[in-house]
């Protein structure tokens, strides 16, 4: 089958490749772009570990063909930290024990980031709803909910400090 040229921006970097249409976005980021932080659990949309952010929205990368991402902005877990500093959501997962084996974590982070970008002060129910499509086999979820609640507070505090600072 004919290969197709794609051009996407991944974690702020323009990437180009010639790929078969059947290549899943999850395989594209892991294998072609060598960004294995995105995890693949089930490959049929159930577990959420492959969630990445495409044009601001969390999506299952195992249910999108990479050719469909043409022209998109993609954020994978590798794009969360800037200059070696963990993102506040990642720090909160660390501090609140929001992970054990870490397999579900990249997908959890994508879902959490989408939630907090839209809703800086979510209730616990809203947090639960946001991660309802992400399976975790280790934590029992409670620590993940604590982590997201704590990250929300950190992000709000940082935002408040910024706006309170004299120009």
């Amino acid at each position: 089958m004919k290969k197709i040229a794609v051009s996407v921006t991944v974690n702020g970097r323009q990437r180009e490749a010639l790929i078969a249409p059947r290549m899943l976005l999850s395989d594209f980021v892991r294998q072609e772009l060598e960004l294995p932080g995105t995890h693949v659990g089930c490959e049929h949309g159930v577990c959420g570990s492959c969630n990445v952010i495409v044009d601001g929205k969390a999506v299952r990368s195992c249910l999108m063909f990479a050719v469909q991402a043409e022209g998109s902005q993609i954020t994978t877990v590798e794009g969360f930290s800037a200059d070696g500093e963990l993102h506040p959501i990642q720090t909160a997962f660390w501090e609140e024990h929001g992970l054990q084996c870490g397999f579900c974590t990249p997908g959890m982070l994508a879902s959490a980031k989408e939630l907090l970008d839209a809703n800086p002060d979510p209730t616990d129910d809203e947090i639960r709803e946001a991660i309802s499509g992400n399976l975790c086999r280790c934590t029992g979820y409670e620590f993940i909910i604590n982590a997201i609640r704590s990250a929300a507070k950190t992000l709000r505090d940082t935002e408040n400090k910024k706006t309170l600072q004299p120009a």
């Binding site: 249409p21 059947r22 395989d27 490959e43 999506v59 299952r60 063909f65 499509g133 992400n134």
Partner: protein, 287 residues
């Protein structure tokens, strides 16, 4: 767990998309991909060619037109769920979305793709039937409308011809005095239903009028319950009546069974959920 090879087309106008369907090659439309891609990953589906409709932004709408709420082929679950038009005119659709999949799936999945996929345990096929929705099926030579109750034929089977695309769904705005109910049981929130019961009705002068009730998760496709509807029409709402009708609907049903929810359990769910849904709709009608 990788899809078989296929040719990929990504048209930027509807005509071009329809032209691709009008060919011998085994062709499928790729909308949100949230049902088709899992099927392809399992190799339960091996289309020769995919027509990606994601670059047809003109099909991404929820709007009001001639007394209908009209939902285009590219309108995604998440946008419909959040739509103010839907909240105002079709609260039963908004409620059903509380039960359908998860945010990341709703970010890409479309209502039209959901209806074309026609999973027996899918909620919207039942919802569309109680709302009296019409499916607009288009091909190069023109389009036709199919009533929701004639659209779903069986598991993964609809009335669409291979060269037809579902371009929009037209849902008549319910009468101002009409009321609704929706209940579901599934293994986890966001999973496909073991049993969904949905109803629209109104109560006039203490009598139930124009009841429409449909179920999914029970047979190979969502369907209306004509006998229950007939038993409700013109009757005064009363708990004993609702229970009696639920009992006989459950008796008449021949539910499908799966490892997680066998046939007897689903029959029980139907019997228990039906009076709840009806009572909720009746209570709402009194508000």
């Amino acid at each position: 767990m990788k899809p078989a090879a296929f040719e990929y087309e990504c048209p930027t106008d509807l005509k071009a998309a329809l032209a691709f369907l009008d060919a011998d090659t085994e062709t499928r439309i790729l909308a949100g991909g949230q049902s088709l891609v899992p099927m392809m990953n399992f190799r339960m589906a091996t289309p020769e060619r995919l027509i990606d409709i994601n670059r047809l932004p003109d099909l991404d709408y929820v709007r009001e037109e001639d007394g209908d709420i009209v939902i285009g082929a590219l309108a995604r679950h998440g946008d419909i769920k959040a739509s103010e038009l839907i909240a105002e005119h079709l609260p039963v659709v908004a409620e059903a979305y509380e039960w359908i999949a998860h945010a990341a799936v709703r970010n890409r999945g479309t209502l039209c793709g959901n209806l074309c996929h026609a999973d027996p345990a899918s909620e919207m096929p039942a919802v569309m039937q109680v709302l009296g929705a019409r499916m607009v099926a288009s091909r190069l030579s023109g389009s036709r409308q199919i009533a929701a109750e004639d659209f779903f034929l069986g598991t993964y089977e609809t009335a669409l011809e291979p060269d037809e695309m579902l371009t929009e769904v037209r849902i008549p705005k319910p009468e101002p005095n009409s009321s609704w109910g929706f209940e579901e049981v599934a293994m986890r929130k966001g999973d496909y239903a073991w049993c969904t019961v949905v109803v629209m009705l109104s109560v006039e002068d203490g009598k139930i009028r124009q009841p429409r009730i449909a179920v999914s998760g029970i047979s190979d496709h969502a369907h209306r319950l004509g006998a229950t509807e007939a038993g409700l029409e013109g009757r005064a709402p009363d708990t004993a009546l609702l229970e009696e009708l639920a009992q006989s609907a459950a008796q008449d049903a021949d539910p499908i069974g799966t490892e997680t929810a066998n046939s007897e359990y689903r029959r029980d769910l139907l019997r228990v959920l039906m009076p709840r849904v009806l009572q909720a709709a009746i209570d709402r009608a009194g508000e």
